[in-house]
């Protein structure tokens, strides 16, 4: 099964004349559930945007299933933006947000067809937000907001799902709910790529991790990748790794605070 779904070949990308990373090569196999971790400003979002095609690389090649991003079958790549970038005062309901996922399909009438409504209801049911479909997006909980945008990305049954910081700004219970949901989707065969700041969540939930700081420091299963050396190379400071009853825990090394 393991053929690369995402392939970056010697890619340099960034903004204007300042590259954020250079000569980056990366492959992500189909079926993976991978998390990119790294300090703030390390270029995680830039990397995601390069993969999604919203940033054109200065050099190198980006291929999603052998095709450049933007040339993929519409709906093949699902994307959930960072919730902090959403305009929460915009007049749309949860249902209307999910419907936007279907706007990639050509239909000249503004209102949804019966079939489209059925699909929205089905995906909302699947994600457990059927009850709040008609609420304004501001008026539902953080977890429900996250699910609404997830539903918008999933409604086209994508092969690749990309999420920027899905664990930011929600409480720990919601974080776990979202990650369980992603695990379930991954089991159904969707390749998932996320960025996050939460190392412990990554260690607990994700089978694959990419330590990133303007380039790949290390990648592999968390148990192999989360070593003192790798974390120091990624974050600069000293981080301690503990094994607690088989759970990996990452914390500030006490010495650095002295």
């Amino acid at each position: 099964m393991a053929q690369p779904l995402i392939r970056l070949e010697d890619v340099s990308a960034g903004y204007r004349h300042r590259p954020v990373f250079t000569h980056l090569s990366l492959t992500l196999d189909e079926g993976r559930f991978a998390g990119i971790v790294g300090p703030t400003g390390s270029g995680k979002t830039t990397l995601l945007n390069t993969i999604l095609g919203t940033i054109r690389p200065h050099a190198g090649r980006v291929l999603i299933e052998g095709r450049p991003p933007g040339r993929t079958r519409s709906g093949e790549v699902g994307y959930v933006p960072q919730l902090e970038t959403v305009d929460w005062s915009f007049p749309v309901t949860v249902e209307q947000v999910i419907l936007m996922g279907l706007y990639v399909n050509r239909r000249w009438l503004p209102w949804p067809s019966r079939e489209e409504k059925r699909r929205v209801a089905a995906i909302a049911e699947e994600l457990g937000i059927a009850a709040c479909l008609h609420h304004h997006i501001r008026d539902v909980s953080g977890g429900q907001q996250q699910r609404a945008f997830l539903a918008r990305a999933l409604i086209n049954r994508p092969r690749l799902l990309v999420l920027d910081e899905p664990t930011a700004g929600v409480d720990i219970k919601t974080q776990h709910d979202v990650l369980h949901l992603l695990e379930e989707l991954n089991r159904q065969g969707i390749t998932i790529l996320i960025t996050t700041h939460d190392l412990n969540t990554v260690a607990a939930h994700l089978p694959w991790v990419i330590c990133f700081n303007q380039g790949i420091v290390a990648e592999g299963p968390p148990r192999e990748v989360f070593t003192r050396e790798n974390l120091a190379a990624t974050y600069g400071g000293e981080l301690a790794v503990f094994d607690h009853d088989g759970h990996l825990l990452i914390a500030h090394a006490p010495a650095t605070h002295a």
């Binding site: 919203t54 709906g75 749309v92 209307q96 706007y103 990639v104």
Partner: protein, 329 residues
Amino acid sequence: METLLEPFAFEFFRNGLWAALMVGALCGMIGVFIVLRGMSYIGHGLSHAAFGGAVLGYTLNANFYVGAVLTAFFAALLIHQLSRGGKIKPDAAIGIVTTAIFALGVALISRVRQFTQSFEAALFGNILGVTSTDLWVIGAVLVVTAVGLFLFYRPLLFSTFDREAAAVFGIPTERLQVGFSLVLALAIIAAMNIVGVTMIAAALIIPAATARLLTDSFSIMLLLSTVLGALVGVSGLYASYHFDAASGATIVLFGAGIFILVLLYHHLRERLAVHEHLHYHDGVAHAHPHTHDGDHAHRHEVPASLAAPGQGAKAQGRSSEMKVRYKKI
């Protein structure tokens, strides 16, 4: 009765009324996208640029409309390009581009004196000088805009809400932006002689902002804003005849008045809605969700199980009565 109907006897007034109706609706529908994108002053800017373009076109012996539309369209694209990098915010981009073009127009006018007269209409609006050609132009722009917004409703909604995500989903956001800029330029030129360069911003913003206060649904906001724009246009023009005041200004004042009324209503509704703060009743200080009535009596929203026994039941009893009154408002 006769004085009320008096203005309808004049053709210039009926033409003006049609113009106000169509321009009001046009600005109302386009304004929704502008207000939601946080680019409210683009209309103000582009109308100034269009004015500069009109003067320039006149100087070059080109058609007034052609010069104005091309310049406004060009300015809209330039603003978009300038503000894309992130270093220059849209408001600064609007300020630089449009004021520069406006200044060019003013400079040209000041060099050639005899201009001054004919451009006054564009600056302050002259709704009562509307010709039937103007009406046809405005009508055509209105139809093009309405059809365009209808057909591209979905991608426009998505890219207005979240441009980046829309691009990832495969919506051609760049082409949409160009198309929207063109429609906006056309609308501004259509509105320029009616409400005047100086008042266009209000015609674009007020109906949309008012509609936003009244609904949380995009489609309803779009419809409401269109209807409000048309209503304000017609009633403002009618009032301007009776008060013998400048038509553009009266229309804007009418719009502002309606906005204030809606704002008051909105504020009242929010106050009546369920909320929570520390308060007293039966001698006990506590906080819990409730709604307000005029005399600060309130209705409990907490389930009876959470409220203190006795108190809860009492408050609940009062509430049903209040709920009925609330609904009647």
